[in-house]
């Protein structure tokens, strides 16, 4: 149903005429594509719509009033923080209200209790800068320094720094959530007072609503305030240097240092990660895809292809890098100790330290996700997996095999097995698989690849993080549940019985398969008759 003049006036009364618009030019700017995450893919073309109206609240109360108006009048709405997450965070049906949260960029740092409190419009790099000034730090997720911290922590929220600084859901403290009907839900210690210092309780810990299979993309409400745990950092300043595009943080080498090691085999690579974790040293321990190094070296996309074109399946298969970030959290002496331990481990495992620049270009303050679009123009991380280090290394080659069948249009990556790293001092292993394409090519095969990876995961019994929000739930639910999809839909129906908050998520990918003819041949699972067509 289109937003009537009366409803528009009611919404305008909440934020003022300056912060609401249904002008087609204003709304066009909120189009999902053609560029961006998953750009040019079927999901973007088939599932996304330009909003019918855009509104920009400033406070939680504004959001509540807006949502209540929508719920009462059956207006579908979509919360939107930075818009970087591509089609999944854009309206999927006509005449939706897009609630742009960028004005909600409050920031409070509680130095004593080591947390920051932010609104959904606050991005990561300012948070990191403020934290580092106060001897603390956070993880800037792989989504990038430009990502909304709240959105990123709900969806993902990890990076190589997760080797030390722990999983994202452990860092979400007191949180405020406007439910789909406009009711305000306070989680953690916010439930009993105004101090968000604690994430668990009282009462059931509902942070699981936000994360995981269904909460993401705003289909269970809108987070308007979140306290995020920070951790102690070392005190020396990391000084920004260089002129864009060649900017970096100069590292105080006695307190912060990257060291790159070349290992002889995948086994020693993984063993090194495990041993570093066991020794409880390091701020980050990771293996990166070889072509990321080509991105870092290249001045432009053409040069990337010059560099990358010199690689082949053999050089990729024999690339066993381990990047280690050492941080002297407490003292120079601690840093020296950690470095000696690291060298002992590498000495035993045959790791060769390579000359490494005393600077940080990406991860500490600037997670450079935008660079992923440099070489092809189209990109998606098709899967993220938090499991074990062993599983990480097994999963990658499986992906590489599936990728081969879809290359082209996927970028030739010579069988690169992706990115993997240590999480939580090696107690978990993380892996991520990235694919790239040119959106001007026939991208139907990319859509098919996406779905094929789900079948590959099911076949090999790999757990993955994107089963729910990025794959058909009626495909994955029976295989992983045996009925998790039914539970997810019950949760959705309980909290949002009218399905007004970002419909048809969490069934959006099921709907996409129904609507995209080139996907039909792959559909070998049952889904309900009443699925929106």
């Amino acid at each position: 149903m289109a937003i009537s003049k009366e409803i528009y006036k009611a919404l305008e009364a909440v934020v003022g005429s300056e912060y609401i618009s249904d002008d087609p030019v204003i709304c066009e700017a909120y189009r999902s594509g053609p560029g961006g995450y998953e750009n040019g893919l079927g999901y973007e073309r088939v599932m996304t719509r330009i909003p019918g109206c855009v509104i920009m609240p400033k406070t939680t109360e504004d959001v509540q009033r807006i949502v209540k108006i929508c719920y009462r009048n059956e207006i579908p709405y979509v919360p939107y923080s930075t818009g970087f997450y591509g089609p999944r965070s854009h309206p999927h049906i006509e005449d939706a209200l897009l609630i742009d949260l960028k004005r909600m960029n409050d920031f409070v740092l509680d130095e004593k209790h080591f947390y920051v409190e932010v609104g959904p419009g606050m991005i990561y790099s300012p948070i990191q800068e403020e934290c580092m000034r106060h001897g603390a730090y956070v993880v800037i997720g792989g989504g990038g320094a430009q990502a909304s911290a709240i959105a990123n922590l709900i969806g993902d929220g990890w990076s190589p720094l997760s080797h030390r600084i722990c999983l994202p859901h452990r860092r979400i403290l007191g949180t405020e959530l406007v439910m789909p009907d406009g009711e305000l839900l306070k989680l953690g210690s916010l439930a009993t007072g105004d101090d968000p210092f604690w994430g668990e309780g009282p009462g059931p810990d509902l942070r699981g609503l936000l994360r995981g299979y269904t909460g993401v993309r705003g289909c269970l409400g809108i987070v308007t305030r979140m306290a995020i745990k920070t951790l102690p950092f070392q005190p020396e300043r990391l000084v920004p240097t260089g002129i864009s595009p060649n900017t970096a943080l100069a590292l105080p080498e006695k307190r912060v240092k990257w060291v790159n090691f070349i290992m002889q085999s995948k086994e020693t690579q993984v063993k090194a990660m495990r041993e570093i974790g066991r020794a409880e040293i390091g701020g980050a321990v990771t293996k990166v895809p070889l072509f990321w190094r080509a991105i870092a070296k290249a001045e432009c996309k053409e040069e990337f292809w010059d560099i990358w074109g010199k690689e082949n399946e053999q050089t990729v298969a024999n690339f066993f890098i381990v990047r280690v970030l050492l941080i002297g959290y407490t003292s120079e002496e601690q840093m020296e100790y950690d470095e000696r331990v690291l060298m002992d481990i590498m000495g035993e495992l045959g790791g060769q330290a390579r000359r490494t620049k005393p600077s940080d270009e990406s991860w500490i303050k600037n997670a450079d996700s935008a660079g992923m679009w440099l070489m092809c123009g189209g990109y998606v991380s098709v899967d993220y997996v938090i499991e074990t280090l062993t599983q990480s290394t097994e999963h990658g080659p499986s992906y590489a095999e599936v990728k081969k069948q879809y290359t082209p249009p996927l970028m030739p990556d010579y069988g690169d097995p992706g990115w993997f790293q240590s999480f939580e001092l090696g107690h978990e292993g993380y892996s991520e698989f990235l694919v790239y394409w040119d959106q001007d090519d026939d991208t139907n095969k990319v859509d098919q690849f996406y779905l094929d990876t789900s079948k590959m995961n099911i076949k090999n019994r790999y757990y993955t993080s994107l089963l729910g929000p990025h794959q058909p739930m009626y495909l994955t639910g029976p295989k992983y549940g045996p009925n998790y999809h039914e539970f997810m839909l019950k949760v959705k129906n309980e909290f949002d019985p009218k399905w007004r908050c970002h419909p048809p998520v969490p069934l959006a990918h099921d709907v996409f398969v129904e609507r995209a003819p080139w996907m039909h041949y792959m559909k070998d699972w049952e889904s309900p008759e009443d699925l929106p067509k």
């Binding site: 912060y19 002008d23 030019v25 204003i26 066009e28 700017a29 909120y30 053609p34 560029g35 961006g36 995450y37 920009m56 930075t82 818009g83 970087f84 742009d100 960028k102 960029n105 606050m122 990561y124 790099s125 300012p126 948070i127 990191q128 800068e129 403020e130 990038g144 320094a145 430009q146 920004p240 002129i243 864009s244 595009p245 060649n246 900017t247 432009c300 996309k301 053409e302 292809w305 990358w308 074109g309 010199k310 082949n312 053999q314 303050k365 600037n366 450079d368 996700s369 935008a370 679009w373 440099l374 070489m375 092809c376 123009g377 082209p408 249009p409 030739p412 010579y414 040119d438 959106q439």
Partner: protein
């Protein structure tokens, strides 16, 4: 094994960096990923929870439409014939200082030609009969009638030349004064002349100086700007000058970048070198020809004028093909704003005894535009004042007593904002600061 790079497809589309055809920039518009690198301060330099953005337009108007990421989507829809002009579209395209922050931000990662696309969209507005805005048309009429944007009498253009200032009839250096320093901020022209004299440099003026055409070019009046470019370049060539010196950042960009763009030549093919006063003075100070003697006991901060910094990389025409994965052939050397005059003005100020130079949170390629340029002050004066006020907050944040820039546009706009707010920050052009020190 693949010793040869794998290529699936052949090059397939001709394109050129020609802003008269928006189709040349469809690729760039269609590849914007909404990372907002165009809007945020480079994350490495992110100063904290205050002063996070470098795009005045996106910061003031807040809807996505006003950031480059929104303009790319709107422009793309227009280029594809899916969206037409309306009043809001004109505001989106013209309430923008074309300050180049978006362009250098994007080229940190993606190499999209954002700046040229925005210029091309304004040319398209004119081609489609909806642009420029009435205030811009008035200014263009002034230039056509009186050769200056203020509509002031042409014969008064050299009224700034007062006693003690004696341009030569013939010299290797030609000082192009520009409209603002000729008519409004004469102290800048006078200080520049004194600096040249102190350094022992003979200089001449154009026999008949006309407006550089910065605003007509900026608002999409391509043909009018091109005519001025042809006329002015020809006039300078006739004088035989080897160096064209400017004290106006906007003029510097016009001569160095946009005249070559309009004339489809390289900056190197102009036939003379284009130099801003800060580059000239910096060199003279470092060679000892210009001595900073008199102390200038002030805690001051420097504002990077956009056209002197991130917008001033030289121009080279480009025609090529875009092919597989969007790669272009032949290799395109992209203008990323790395050749801006960032250190020179700071070195000058540091060489002055007594100066305590402090940096604002947003500096160099991350600087927040003063808000005056590229047609904004004429059509959106409130926006121009707002942008200047934002910058003055930074000046106050670092406790500076004086704000120095290298462009009369910046000086004027800041001075008006200080006056409006009742503040006590002194606003100076760098030529005045240099002059104050050498006159000791």
């Amino acid at each position: 094994m693949a010793d040869e790079p794998i290529r699936y497809y052949k090059p397939r589309a001709d394109f050129k960096l020609d802003i008269t055809d928006i189709q040349n920039f469809v690729y760039d518009m269609s590849r914007c990923i909404k990372c907002k690198g165009c809007t945020w301060v480079d994350h490495t330099y992110m100063p904290g929870a205050k002063f996070m953005t470098r795009c005045p337009s996106a910061t003031k108007y807040e809807f996505d439409a006003y950031g480059a990421y929104g303009k790319m989507r709107i422009g793309h829809a227009m280029a594809e014939g899916l969206l037409g002009w309306n009043e809001k579209a004109l505001e989106v395209m013209y309430a923008c200082t074309l300050c180049g922050a978006c362009d250098v931000g994007c080229k940190r990662n993606l190499d999209l030609e954002i700046g040229l696309t925005l210029e091309s969209l304004r040319v398209k507005a004119v081609q489609d009969g909806v642009g420029p805005l009435p205030a811009h048309k008035k200014l263009a009429e002034n230039i056509a009638k009186t050769h200056n944007m203020y509509g002031a009498p042409h014969e008064k253009r050299t009224a700034w030349v007062t006693k003690g200032i004696a341009p030569d009839k013939k010299a290797d250096v030609l000082y192009f004064v520009g409209c603002t320093a000729s008519y409004v901020n004469k102290e800048i022209a006078q200080s520049t002349a004194k600096i040249l004299k102190a350094a022992g440099t003979k200089f001449m003026l154009m026999p008949d100086e006309w407006c550089c055409g910065n605003t007509p070019f900026s608002v999409g009046l391509y043909d009018e700007a091109k005519a001025l470019a042809q006329r002015n370049v020809e006039e300078v060539r006739k004088t035989g000058a080897k160096t064209l010196l400017l004290s106006c950042a906007e003029g510097y960009r016009m001569w160095k970048v946009d005249y070559p763009k309009l004339l489809n030549i390289s900056t190197a093919d102009l036939g003379f070198e284009v130099v801003h006063l800060v580059a000239y003075a910096d060199e003279k100070i470092k060679s000892g020809a210009l001595k900073m003697k008199k102390p200038f006991e002030t805690r001051l901060t420097y504002h990077d004028s956009c056209s002197l910094s991130r917008l001033s990389d030289p121009w080279t025409p480009y025609e090529g093909k875009r092919g597989w994965m969007g790669c272009v052939e032949p290799r395109l050397k992209r203008r990323r704003g790395t050749q801006g005059l960032y250190m020179q003005p700071r070195d000058i100020l540091k060489s002055i005894p007594g100066v305590n130079l402090v940096e604002m949170p947003r500096t160099r390629e991350n600087a927040f535009c003063c808000g005056a340029g590229r047609g904004v002050q004429e059509a959106y004066p409130d926006f121009a004042k707002w942008a200047a006020a934002q910058r003055l907050e930074e000046v106050r944040e670092v406790g500076a007593e004086a704000l120095v820039s290298s462009c009369p546009w910046c000086k004027n706009n800041f001075a008006q904002a200080v006056k409006a707010s009742g503040g006590d920050v002194q606003v100076l052009d760098i030529s005045e600061v240099i002059c104050a020190s050498i006159e000791g």
